[in-house]
Symmetry: C2
DNA sequence: GTCTATACAACGATAGAC
DNA sequence: GTCTATCGTTGTATAGAC
């Protein structure tokens, strides 16, 4: 579609006076768009639109769509807050806190971002690599480092698989009654598995 | 639609054998392409090419790409074979057989189809609905119907979540060492959870 | 003046619709 | 088969910083 006659704001060409943070605004817009639409669904033009700049700025500042994507994944969520909520307390009940916490986070967002993230992971190796490193080194990695006696990486993978699967079935597949079950039911059902993956005996 | 070539000889009674089955060939081609490339990755032209017909046939027979997609999902895999391999034997060891069986299936395909399926589920409501019904009514549904004492749907969802998550982390995310772990290790680690979801006590 | 940030235009590719 | 829309990308002119 051609630009409509009513322009929302004729953007001037040339360098902006003052400190314009185009790069930062592109990053912010990219996080939203990638989260909402996945890697394929998000378009460079739309991200640039949201940032209020031209699409060419993506190439200028990042080199392309993929580079923008990886750059935007630097801090998807705040791990400090998450870990501060999970780690303190009885180590024998950390499985319950993990399940409860992820349910709370995903319930709030409605599952859209989770579906977008899964879609990105499944369709783009770069996204899979990013998420893999993020889960292993930051999210689950720090949990197992804090509470697991051995085999930290394997435990992290098992724990991630259980949490990921629960999110997928509940929020993406929307499989009933799991999709509508309350937190207490799911915590009681799933937490023992998480607890065993984290602190229980492993082969 | 073009009929088979005019053949010399006496006129046959009844339905003519070898009539062109454009619709069926499109379905078959669509299953392969959708499985290999996901919904977005598969193109109407390529499916039609594989079927040996013109792309316009997709519109003619199905009405569009999405309708072809849903139609192609009718029978993704053969559930009879799967269940015949899992159900017989000690009910207390069915968890082990479930894990072993899915690992074998997915190891053989290398995870590509799984990634494509996950991508389709995450990006298309129609795919999610299809898979939900397929899992609930056919795959896991028959397992819980055979071995679970109660709460069949919840148990099916929990079981599906664990299996799905394991496949996602192992084949799509490729999270080590889980991605390279042998079957025995994963069966020993995951089967107890599956077993509890299927036959154990639930809240 | 030089350099950099910016917007605009247009290109080649591709996919879906008609 | 053709048409149209849209994608990511690139080239280029311009406005302002230094």
């Amino acid at each position: 579609m051609v630009a409509a006659g009513a322009q929302p704001g004729p953007r001037r060409r040339g360098r902006r006076p003052g400190g314009s943070d185009t790069r930062g605004q592109l990053l912010e817009a990219a996080r939203v768009e990638f989260a909402e639409r996945g890697y394929e669904g998000a378009t460079v033009r739309r991200i640039a639109d949201r940032a209020g700049v031209d699409a060419a700025m993506v190439n200028h500042w990042f080199g392309g769509k993929e580079a923008l994507f990886t750059a935007s994944l630097d801090i998807p969520i705040d791990p400090v807050e998450l870990l501060a909520d999970i780690l303190p307390g009885d180590p024998e009940k950390i499985g319950e806190r993990v399940v409860e916490r992820f349910l709370t986070v995903w319930d709030a967002t409605g599952g859209g971002p989770l579906a977008a993230m899964i879609q990105s992971i499944a369709s783009h190796d770069a996204a899979a690599r990013m998420m893999r490193e993020f889960i292993g080194n930051v999210l689950v990695g720090r949990i197992v480092a804090a509470v697991s006696p051995d085999q930290h990486e394997l435990r992290a993978g098992l724990c991630g698989a259980q949490v990921f699967g629960m999110g997928m079935v509940r929020y993406v597949l929307k499989f009933e009654p799991l999709a509508s079950a309350d937190h207490a039911t799911l915590v009681a059902a799933v937490a023992p598995s998480i607890q065993r993956y984290l602190t229980g005996p492993l082969p």
